[in-house]
Symmetry: D2
Subunit: 301 residues, 4 copies
């Protein structure tokens, strides 16, 4: 197929490359000149405007967005849709909020444009191993882009699927990331406990390697943790500072909105917030209270 | 009544003083010379050995221990009991583990010595406001020391009670402290949230003061927090470092042993542990994992 | 002062009564005929329309809303404001979301109407003991209604205060309720642990009563818990089903939005959601997984 | 090698079988006649006493225990060791507490008996896929039993390792299970959230299947969950009741003892306790409190 890939950052460039290698014609565009240049050097066909990207495609056109979630998606759509015509299809492969995707699908449908929300997992390894793709949108539209999904996925018949109507792709990706937070936190707590048990002199990378084969906790995240621990067993030089990219917050909000208690996913998010506190007011007040009622010494900052 | 107070630290000295003021004769002893001297200067009758303390009392003798929980209690009992005789009574007013108290009561009963475990709450304010006393032990023995309890409590008929058999006093005190952890954490989180909401320019001490009168969250801990926030609104100079003194851990262990889910009390303890982590391995591994799968930048330490 | 009280439910009727007893003239209105009738029987001056309530007041008019948070407030304002004129004041004393209050204050300010958001705590006991009032709005407007606040509060000079600009009253009330959730959960977990420790044969109401005097955990919530446990020691006939009324959810959302980790308040909310799950899918899937990998028996539903 | 397998329950029988198929001579014993009979029918060499099992082996003898953790291990060792002689080796492959294993290793060392603690993961799938084996004990002793470990593991050189001194095997297995709890809970919460989002009409097994290929959350537990959801998409007939087998409790206790905050692993355990509460006193007291202060209706049980 012919496709325009809008957004040639880490994820977009890799996906464009995987599609290209899979025999599709990919016209790439990114507002950043550096990103365009890197993509061109990597052998992709690159243009220097959204209009040019659209113009380079046969109708019906298929445009894949791989841009930062939020306003950037709306802005890109605002610039893109004037160049599109009835029957064209836009795919949002980023981490958009599923409610935005539902809204956007409705808006584009008014102009008879197809809109697909595609939750994409796989990170930097996707180029090589393929991406897991959770797709939301009208079945007929998803069917049209199936050749792309088959190429992006780890195998033609595995790792992708239309999971529901518009929004369902990004909804399931959101939940996926919530689960990811919980799993990561579970592993990290367990390894921290082993690290603290100094009299055992455990080699964490070795334990992880043992677990990778045959254990109940084997997983891809464990594979990656094993690599990280092999390269840097004491994790020196890494700050105890954990970012979050939004989907965890949405998962927590959605769970509460639906009255589903999700304590572990929720705590995993809160632990990330906690990792970024440098002078917790909560803890200072606790210390002050203890001093107030019990005369317990306050540690000075 | 006549009573020996063994242990003249912050709590013991105050309790001895309150008993003294209440008309009881208190013979004080502490292994530390400084503590003895301070007690003598405060007008208490002080002796310089356990034996002398016991010798100064009429039979049946009543000895109140206010020493650090754990081994110190066992050591003190080991040195004390040879000087005691049938019918004498020992009271442990400290924060002992209730299981130790059950064991000690059994051991002393074999020598016909009475043993009372008395959970004591009130902190440094107890001298002035009276202590809340949760008492475990045989009813007849508790009855014998009731005059002391009436004096130590905020009022003759309030704030003290035999709550059950040996161990029940320290068991209820343990739970009391678990609840205390949870309440403190709830307040601290709430105030931290208000502190962070900078555009509201809230005066936390003022909000606390408003809450003290008529609100659902009014409490003594809130009174104390109000004082702390009035004196030091931004809690400057206080490190975000929160100690725990053991009862919270026991509460968590007991709850799990009895299959009672106590998530809030448990989390309150874990948050204190967290406050003392300076370079969390958990968080460093989380950061390493994110880099591993997503190429997300690691913050350098 | 003269005031209209709109909404004569449990809270509104009591507040109207307290104002009335305090020497204010209160014109009451409620859309429900039953509520109007009960208020009239209780000696209040009751009218049968919003327009009549406004018409009964001297200018500048002061109208207190005590209606359900959310759409009802907007609808009531929509019906009310056409009858108001420059300089009149509307107070929202309910549990509105603070963001709504900021929006409403702005909208009314365009018509030169004053708007005050008043967080009100005290529950059914407020009539007798006075309410804790957290007030947000322009200082000059709050000053105008100060006579009402002095009467509603537990004392003229205590339990009320302008805590900040528009929204600050409902913001602090929201946080107040979040703290309330955490405190309640801490107590409930502690009492549940004592209840489970059957060999101690603890009398929970007695323990609570002892704690009420001199202990670190004394509070008004403990006073109420003591009453509840005295009347019904085993809490028979009460379903383990805990509602929430919205402010806890907002507190959790706000804390996450501001990157403030508030695990105990958050868990307290999740525990309430959990109390209402009758056939948890989470737990069923956990049981299914255990069977899948370990052959562990599944309990049949 | 020649080996005695003591305990022919689900795990022991499968491990004996895998060793047998791998070319080792396995002498099986179980105190239960039924278990012995099933093992014999499956082609194993079975004896009817511990003594006979020992007698059937050449020296130095190697005895693998696969019996319930706790007292059963001590009892079995008490009956077994009189039949053993210097240089013989006992392996505990069950889920013993690592502190017990350290104690037992010391005790057996006094009689010059080798003791190896082997954490074993893999569940009912181990027979076919191999087990993940975390081994603690003296290096020389572990070396002697390496041929058995190579056969039990998924491959000769993968999925097993001596991770440290005595106790290290069961310590790492304990942590493994703590992580397992957290991962399971994370998945279960995520699927429950998707299940509740009814307007998306998600096919959970399909989503799980998509995630299995290329996603960040792919794992063996996800593979198993996918199977469970395919067979029984709505998990009908499964009670929301989740057992725990002890290692999670130990992990939580160890983490607290070492001051390592492990909130997600801890909450995962508490959620299991919660799943087994049928009439939570905590929740009933919360409901009673709400009624007490706010007049909120109590749901009758």
């Amino acid at each position: 197929m012919d496709i325009a890939m809008i957004g040639l950052g880490r994820m977009g460039a890799n996906m464009a490359q995987r599609l290209h290698r899979g025999g599709h014609r990919v016209v790439g565009y990114d507002p950043g000149e550096g990103a365009r240049q890197r993509a061109a050097e990597a052998g992709l066909e690159v243009v220097d405007s959204l209009a040019a990207a659209v113009a380079a495609l046969p109708v019906p056109r298929v445009v894949w967005l791989m841009v930062p979630a939020g306003e950037t998606v709306d802005q890109t759509l605002g610039q893109l849709t004037p160049h599109l015509a009835e029957g064209d299809i836009v795919i949002d492969g980023g981490n958009s909020n599923y409610q935005d995707s539902i809204r956007r699908a409705k808006a584009l449908a008014e102009d008879d444009l197809g809109y697909v929300d595609c939750g994409t997992s796989g990170g930097v390894w996707g180029l090589q191993e393929g991406y897991s793709l959770m797709v939301g949108g009208e079945a007929a539209v998803v069917e049209q882009i199936a050749p792309l999904l088959r190429t992006l996925a780890p195998a033609e018949d595995r790792g992708w699927g239309r999971v529901g109507p518009s929004g369902a792709g990004h909804f399931t990706k959101m939940v996926h990331n919530g689960i990811e937070y919980g799993m990561m936190q579970a592993y990290a707590e367990g390894f921290a406990l082993m690290e603290r048990k100094q009299e055992m002199e455990l080699d964490l990378a070795q334990v992880a390697e043992v677990w990778r084969h045959g254990s109940v906790v084997r997983s891809w995240l464990l594979d990656l943790s094993t690599e990280a621990l092999k390269r840097n067993p004491s994790l020196d030089g890494i700050a105890p500072y954990v970012e979050d990219s939004g989907e965890g917050r949405w998962t927590v909000a959605e769970a509460i909105a639906l009255d589903v208690p999700a304590p572990v996913i929720t705590l995993s998010l809160l632990e990330r917030l906690r990792s970024r506190e440098s002078n917790s007011f909560t803890d200072r007040l606790l210390s002050a209270m203890r001093n107030e009622f019990g005369g317990h010494a306050i540690k000075k900052s």
